[in-house]
Symmetry: C2
Subunit: 341 residues, 2 copies
């Protein structure tokens, strides 16, 4: 019998349990995968905890949207995907209670299935879509970042933060990454950050203005919200764009009205949903990302790999904010070496 991670109530990491589940065949439009590895995302911690702003869990619920694996079977009407294919999944699934991928077997809608990028191991292949697709929206589709632009990336040690640094660098921009933890400075530099601001020790606004010769950052990517917004507005350039894509700080966010008016700033709420639920945008994004992976311009950074049995510990680790890159669960113990044949 397949094993899946389930939760029956919201709460701490311990609400996640590994259960045997019925070995179903895929229904119409569905694809069944043998999961080799899956990636963890912050939104899954929030869904589990009941704090995800976009939706609430429906119990009993599976969890997880980002996996790689080998197709076991396809349901009626599925074209272009066949048993034996090595594939990844795009995090575009709304009905996660049924389609969650944490486990050794998963059933997902065919529209969630994407290519396994050439040359990536299973632990890397499961770490592609959430981070680069999230970065793609503000940096490429909307912000149209290019040479000469300065991009400020907060909470930069998350997997999405790394994805933002890499995509901004690939576009020719100058990147400023922030972290609270001075120990992560060198890792961020290694990931391509041109400048690192340790916010627990340095004045963010002063440093950004110093780095930019007083001009400020044209594009800001922030998953935190909360009181830090005031400094981001002060650090933004005239006509700057602040993309808010999360709410890690759950205290009240002030409205930076005066800099907004004085500098003609844009603050835009953004979630990955607007890319992954729009077929045209998604296709453009996938092509862009596969191209950059193929050329070696970007490569997922894996922080730590857990086993399936360690899922509670893996969630706990994500919530400790000690990571620097992607947290992956290797369902296949050899996932680090498994490559598409």
């Amino acid at each position: 019998m397949p094993r899946a991670v389930l939760f029956q109530e919201t709460g701490g990491p311990e609400v996640l349990t590994i259960e045997e589940v019925p070995d179903e065949a895929p229904g119409a439009g569905e694809v069944k995968l043998r999961v080799l590895a899956f990636g963890l995302n912050r939104s899954e911690c929030q869904l589990r905890a009941g704090t995800y702003p976009m939706m609430a869990a429906v119990f009993p619920s599976r969890i997880g949207r980002e996996a790689c694996g080998i197709v076991e079977a396809v349901g009626a009407g599925v074209e272009g995907i066949a048993a034996g294919d090595w594939v990844t999944t795009i995090p575009n699934v709304v009905e996660v209670q049924r389609y969650g991928v944490y486990g050794d077997m998963a059933i997902v809608p065919a529209g969630a299935v994407a290519p396994w990028p050439d040359g990536l191991s299973a632990t890397e292949a499961t770490a592609v879509w959430q981070q680069y697709l999230t970065a793609y929206g503000p940096l490429v589709a909307y912000g149209k970042v290019g040479k000469g632009d300065v991009v400020l990336i907060t909470a930069a040690t998350s997997s999405v933060g790394h994805g933002c640094i890499e995509l901004a660098k690939a576009a020719g921009a100058t990147t400023i990454a922030t972290t609270r933890d001075r120990a992560k400075r060198d890792d961020l530099t290694a990931s391509g950050a041109d400048h690192v601001i340790v916010t627990s020790e340095e004045d963010l606004v002063a440093r950004v203005l110093e780095i930019t010769g007083g001009g400020g950052a044209r594009v800001v990517l922030d998953p935190i919200a909360g009181p830090g917004i005031a400094a981001l507005a002060d650090a933004a350039a005239q006509g700057g764009e602040i993309y808010l894509y999360g709410q890690l700080d759950r205290t009240t966010t002030p409205f930076p009205l005066i800099p907004l008016l004085r500098k003609g700033l844009t603050i835009r709420g953004y979630t990955l949903w607007e890319i992954v639920l729009d077929r045209m945008k998604l296709n453009a994004a996938k092509s862009h990302i596969l191209g950059l992976l193929g050329s070696g311009a970007i490569r997922p950074r894996i922080d730590r790999v857990f086993s399936l049995e360690e899922i509670v510990e893996a969630h706990r680790y994500m919530e400790s904010n000690r990571q620097n890159g992607k947290i992956v669960v290797a369902v296949d113990p050899a996932a680090n070496e498994r490559r598409k044949p």
Copy 2:
């Protein structure tokens, strides 16, 4: 000796005084006008009161940016403008302490001088630029409003509100205008508002959703800020754009984080400065507006005309919020009938 409106300190309307000033010749790059009429704008009340978010007055100060008149003389290096020309002024002057136009004579930079639109009286000609240029940015340059779009315009009885209704209608959009005062409903309808919401009596969000079949407004134009922002975010469509162009409500503005994230909303601070200080944008905007005036698609709506001697009363009237359209001061008592020869 010319007479000009001056103020020596911030305060209520009574700080404005009419003083005789030296009859100067225009300097290099300057144009001297005999003023026939000038328009009042909210930002001038704020500058006078010391609450203008964009800048503070430098005393002693002239005041006002929007006038029409006849060129008396031009300074060195001014081309394309000659004594005897009937002209208007664009509100693009930063050094208002010297270049303010409230008075019977004004000196302005040549870059502030614009054509007098054909067929408009002096009271109308002085009421063109602030309202239509302000509306142009969010509706045309940025929001690219067109057929099928729903535009929500708050505080719609101001001159800029009227300009927004007219420009949105000219672009083919459906317009929803708000006012606190039910007595102004018919006037807004007469100005082209497809729907009017009286916010003192009706639920703004419920009405917008009802009018739009649940979809919300794609573009929102708001000069108020303050707590009302929450309702505007709830009334905005998925992917909607809220342009904040003022701060009439000086209480704290809450940050509508959840609708911002859920709907991928954009909130953009906007002031007319970004159009009028950018030559390319300004030229495009002027052509657009002169074209619509020429075809009769738009026409300034004059609320009330004061004499120069009534300047204190005119400011007091603007701050009473009783107006519905443009407040003009006719320096020439026959300004209503004066037309470019």
